[in-house]
């Protein structure tokens, strides 16, 4: 294809996005669009899968049968989200094995939040309330993103995420209406998860490298800082209802702007975690790599069995 032809295709493509038309897997797309989507969708899928670990950690110890069932259902939903997202990503011409390879080698990232440990039961509440809450704010706009398979996956993901968030908040509410020990547990969880949740929106706007392009392709509708502010404005009143204190002495409602002002995020910690040196990065990756490597004989067996079955079918037919 000549440069002129490509330029022409690009113009048609940009015009389609501007008209809010969905781009589908067989449509022509710029290489950069394809690569950016592979990066973002696979990262999103990896986050769902790695995100099963901090919560899976409490399945055997959940304090009531009802909570245990809800937690199991939630982790199952997350595995399902991972599955849709990997499938959506595969429509862009990358295999799930390649994506796993990128995750295991550290080439592909996952949400930095899952590198924090879940140390008490209250963390199941805090993760649902704050982490899923932040995820929803990030993800709701993606239901209208330009790439069709991603947008459709997100519709279903967002519905379930809202349900998880309510469940998480309900865990916090129960703890806060409980004994002093339970309330203390809830406050401690908020203290530990608050700042990492704010970091889920990514670096500040002036440090964010992909924002401009992502806005153009409707992968993003608002900037990191705008979304973070939206999360804070929404979450602070919820903490008030719980009777919990946000661990930020600079947090204060600003009458003029109508928003909450808040303190400085520890960006050194953020980059440390993103670069692989957070509290659980090594453990999370080891769990994934071990599962993959120890499962190899199982996957090989499934392949071998499928081939044998197919051969027997052919032999029978002839």
């Amino acid at each position: 294809m000549s440069n002129k032809e490509i330029k022409n295709l690009e113009e048609i493509f940009e015009a389609r996005i501007a008209r809010d038309e969905k781009i589908e897997p067989k449509d022509w797309m710029p290489e950069k669009y394809r690569k950016t989507h592979i990066r973002q969708i696979s990262q999103h899928a990896h986050s769902e899968i790695v995100g099963m670990l901090p919560e899976g950690n409490w399945i055997t110890r959940a304090p009531s049968l009802r909570r245990k069932a809800a937690l199991l259902a939630k982790v199952q939903d997350e595995a399902g989200h991972g599955l849709y997202l990997y499938s959506a990503c595969e429509t862009l011409g990358i295999s799930r094995e390649e994506m796993y390879e990128q995750l295991h080698s550290g080439k592909a990232k996952y949400s930095s939040i899952f590198n924090y440990p879940s140390v008490t039961w209250a963390d199941m509440g805090a993760i649902g309330w704050l982490v899923d809450g932040a995820a929803i704010i990030n993800q709701v706009p993606l239901c209208n993103t330009s790439f069709g398979p991603y947008a459709r996956a997100m519709v279903r993901v967002c519905k379930e995420e809202s349900f998880h968030q309510r469940q998480g908040y309900e865990i916090m509410l129960t703890l806060c209406n409980g004994t002093d020990e339970q309330k203390e547990m809830a406050q401690d969880a908020l203290n530990r998860w608050w700042w990492p949740s704010l970091m889920m929106f990514g670096p500040t706007d002036d440090e964010s490298t992909h924002t401009e392009q992502s806005m153009k392709w409707k992968l993003k509708r608002k900037t990191n800082d705008e979304l973070r502010q939206q999360f804070i404005d929404q979450t602070v009143p919820q903490a008030d209802i719980l009777g919990l204190t946000i661990p930020d002495p600079d947090m204060k409602f600003n009458e003029e702007t109508g928003h909450y002002d808040f303190g400085e995020i520890d960006w050194d910690e953020f980059w440390q975690v993103v670069k692989g040196h957070g509290p659980c990065n090594k453990e999370r990756m080891k769990a994934r790599v071990d599962a993959w490597e120890e499962g190899e004989w199982v996957r090989d067996a499934a392949m071998a069995h499928a081939e044998k079955k197919a051969k027997r079918k052919v032999a029978k037919a002839s």
Partner: protein
């Protein structure tokens, strides 16, 4: 015997009979819950979590019924979290560790075949609540059995390595199968009432059904004549204490709280 005494004996036997079924589901659900996020593929992770959730749902229905029988404001959680090892009535099979995926599937398969047979029969019980639980559970358990049988076949008739691993797992777990057909005092009392299922009568068919799948999976049917038992009487393997330590940690550490 006075009728009141008779009533209370009946209730006690029914209570124990229900736990004899439900404890199997709880302990197996707990074992499967350990695997979350660690399976050989995303699809098996989803399926195993799904099975765990089904079993836990069944457990809750049984325990809620048992709690009602026990009275004194007992709840499903009291039954799950406040009993000691010696009071648990699950068979030894379900408490066996998740050694590797072959063991997980072998344990599941050996239990599912039994479980499905039991549910089919429980639908004809004289106890309406048990019938209702069985009717709901049977759909789930049929799915479990299909899943585990398919994996026994895949692994048995897969590669040499998987065949060997599956065979080892079946051999290891075989000695726990005979206990499935033991009848406790509560079982016998409930069989007499037309409520309980005579599991001893299921034995022959069970081994036929299991053998059929094992043959299809190109696996050998173990010849072992020596079996280990005790779970139904509350005498468990050494694994059980650790399972309960995890399961009960929160309720034991923070008693009498709502979660």
């Amino acid at each position: 015997m006075k009728s009141q005494e008779k009533d209370s004996r009946f209730h006690g036997n029914l209570y124990n009979y229900i736990l004899g079924i439900a404890d199997n589901s709880l302990i197996l659900a707990q074992r499967l819950g350990e695997l979350c996020g660690h399976g050989p593929s995303l699809e098996t992770d989803i399926a195993i979590t799904n099975i765990s959730l089904d079993l836990l749902g069944q457990t809750r229905s049984y325990y809620q019924y048992a709690a009602k029988l026990a009275g004194e404001d007992k709840t499903e959680d009291d039954i799950a979290f406040l009993r000691i090892e010696r009071e648990y009535k699950n068979v030894l099979l379900v408490e066996q560790p998740n050694t590797h995926f072959g063991h997980v599937m072998a344990r599941q398969f050996l239990f599912d075949v039994y479980h499905l047979m039991l549910m089919e029969r429980l639908q004809n019980s004289q106890d309406e609540t048990l019938v209702a639980i069985a009717k709901k559970g049977i759909k789930e358990v049929s799915y479990h059995k299909r899943f585990s049988s398919d994996w026994v076949k895949r692994l048995g008739d897969g590669t040499d390595e998987s065949n060997q691993k599956m065979q080892e797992a079946i051999n290891d777990l075989w000695r726990y199968t005979d206990e499935l057909f033991d009848e406790t005092e509560a079982d016998k009392a409930m069989i007499d009432e037309g409520i309980g299922i005579a599991v001893s009568e299921m034995k022959e068919t069970y081994y036929e059904k299991v053998s059929e799948i094992l043959e299809e999976a190109t696996l050998e049917i173990p010849e072992r004549k020596y079996f280990t038992r005790g779970g139904k009487k509350g005498v468990h393997t050494e694994h059980m204490g650790y399972i309960l330590a995890d399961l009960q940690y929160m309720q034991r550490t923070y008693p009498n709280m709502t979660w």
